[in-house]
């Protein structure tokens, strides 16, 4: 009998796994179970053009809704998986259905962190942004002239700020840390993005100590700061990060710590259980990391499909990421975690620039703002494990394409020993 592969969570990673799996023509039967009532969709537009009303809902879906059944996949959308029983290799859904698996793939993603109810996190008018349903609920509230308060200066908060400005809202953004993007980027990138938002009329407050949200008539009315100041707001968006959905794995006895730990083939400590996407953590450059990106979800989903069909592979894809804010295209190649120094390369115009991250003398990541060539050639150079000097990349006269080609042709020169 054909093997059954059960996939829990119907998001980006699951869609990628299924696409590759079906293309490989594997015999195994797939059963996809997802808590959201809709087939897998792209989340990036949620804070960008979908929030702006510029992208129709249908265009969010990664595959047409009928595609899954057409591929012979059993689907259960709108169904939460409640538990995994590893000894009998079964899962139990919220409806009490029991489904047996030969292999299990966890693609449970992550959940937006909420502000605790004791601080006003549950008040009407307070939103988080993770799902299509979240945006569909909040979008009607994004009306010109209203005051939006955003808590958290990460990518999602900043993208929502940009969308809200375009829609004519007044936006204030509070960041607890010293600077926006502190967790993910160097000060040079934060400075650039801060200026971008300020010039578009967003009030950004960093090192902002908020005490709690305040209410009037049963709805959020603003935030009370530690120094007693009150910032008025008609609506509040909480963008204070996301946590990996590990409950299911933990309950099944898989040790989790900021993600479900997987090895270099996305296998958990149970050899029949794999995991992919936002919910995983894995070793990269000697550190355990957890990524929240389309790249990681797609590449890990892809890899699991290949591994399960017998291909000998290891996960070593180069991380990349993008974020669109106003007319600024931010593109990131590599992973800056653990950097020891940075160098800034000026772009061709005053609105373009790139930050290059080094760990000692190794180039590990690039943040490119309106500078696709820094992104594209930076990505090529990093992927080839080449390390141009900081002086070279910082010099605006260095032609990055030529530099990449030169460094990479060194790599491709045939080794006489082979």
């Amino acid at each position: 009998m054909a093997e059954t592969i059960v996939i829990v969570g119907a998001g980006q990673a699951a869609a990628s796994f299924i696409s590759r799996h079906t293309r490989l023509g594997s015999e195994a039967e797939l059963h996809l179970i997802g808590e959201e009532p809709v087939p897998p969709y792209q989340r990036p537009p949620l804070s960008k053009n979908y929030l702006l009303g510029e992208l129709e809902r249908d265009r969010l879906f990664i595959r047409p809704p009928q595609w899954y059944a057409e591929q012979g996949i059993t689907i259960d959308f709108g169904t939460r998986v409640e538990s995994i029983e590893r000894d009998t290799k079964q899962i139990r859904t919220q409806n009490g259905d029991i489904i047996a698996y030969d292999k299990l793939l966890l693609c449970t993603g992550s959940t937006a962190r909420k502000l605790p109810a004791s601080l006003g996190g549950d008040l009407p008018g307070v939103f988080t942004l993770r799902s299509l349903a979240d945006v569909d609920t909040m979008a009607p509230e994004f009306r010109a002239g209203r005051k939006l308060l955003i808590l958290g200066g990460g990518y999602i908060g900043l993208e929502a700020a940009a969308s809200a400005r375009k829609l004519g809202l007044n936006v204030t953004l509070l960041e607890m840390a010293e600077r926006i993007l502190q967790r993910v980027a160097a000060p040079e990138t934060s400075d650039f993005i801060r200026k971008l938002h300020q010039s578009n009329g967003v009030e950004i407050r960093e090192s902002a100590g908020m005490k709690q949200l305040c209410q009037s008539d049963g709805r959020v009315s603003g935030a009370e700061m530690e120094d007693g100041e009150e910032i008025p707001a008609d609506l509040v968006l909480v963008g204070i990060g996301a946590s990996a959905n590990t409950e299911l794995a933990e309950q099944a006895g898989l040790d989790c710590d900021n993600g479900i730990p997987v090895n270099n083939i996305c296998q958990t400590c149970d050899p029949d259980i794999y995991a992919a996407g936002d919910c995983t953590s894995f070793i990269r450059n000697g550190r355990r990391v957890r990524l929240e990106s389309v790249q990681n979800a797609v590449d890990q989903g892809n890899l699991v499909a290949q591994v399960l069909s017998g291909t000998d592979l290891q996960y070593d894809a180069l991380p990349w990421f993008w974020s669109d804010q106003y007319d600024c295209k931010l593109q990131i190649a590599g992973l800056s975690t653990g950097y020891t120094s940075t160098v800034v390369r000026p772009g061709a115009t005053h609105i373009s620039q790139s930050t290059w991250y080094y760990a000692d003398d190794r180039l590990i990541a690039v943040d490119a703002m309106n500078d696709t060539s820094a992104y594209a050639f930076g990505r090529k150079i990093i992927a080839a494990d080449k390390h141009p000097s900081p002086e070279e990349v910082a010099d605006p006269n260095t032609d990055l394409k030529a530099l990449a080609n030169e460094l990479i042709s060194e790599l491709e020169n045939p080794d006489p020993k082979l």
Binding site: Q295, W322, K329, Y375
Partner: protein
């Protein structure tokens, strides 16, 4: 609407009627064209929507801007003179009968 054909290296092909305004990466993924991933959703950050355009049609698919031109330098299969990122081609009646070749890594 335009009828678009994608030709694969193994000789197989897929044709579909594509509504005006959709880009041809979306059209490809919704018609299960293999090897067109469209990971970034069409925002010029992934180059996974690379196609070769039939020479006779190339001019009709529109201009390549600087960003697309740069991103074409990082496709999996090396770019050629008739390379495009298909997320940057928008379906319109003028493209009726367009043929795209899908590179295979």
């Amino acid at each position: 609407m335009a009828n678009i054909t994608w030709k694969m290296e193994d000789g197989s092909e897929i044709s579909a009627d594509v509504n005006d305004g959709l880009n041809l990466m979306e059209a490809a993924t919704s018609n299960n064209v293999p090897n067109i991933e469209g990971e970034c959703g069409g925002c010029l950050s992934c180059a996974t929507c690379h196609v070769f355009v039939d020479q006779d049609w190339f001019a009709k698919t529109g201009e390549i801007d600087d960003i697309e031109d740069t991103m074409l330098d990082m496709t999996d299969v090396e770019r050629r003179d008739n390379s495009r990122l298909s997320c940057q081609i928008t379906a319109s009646p003028e493209l009726e009968g367009l043929v795209l070749y899908v590179p295979e890594p």
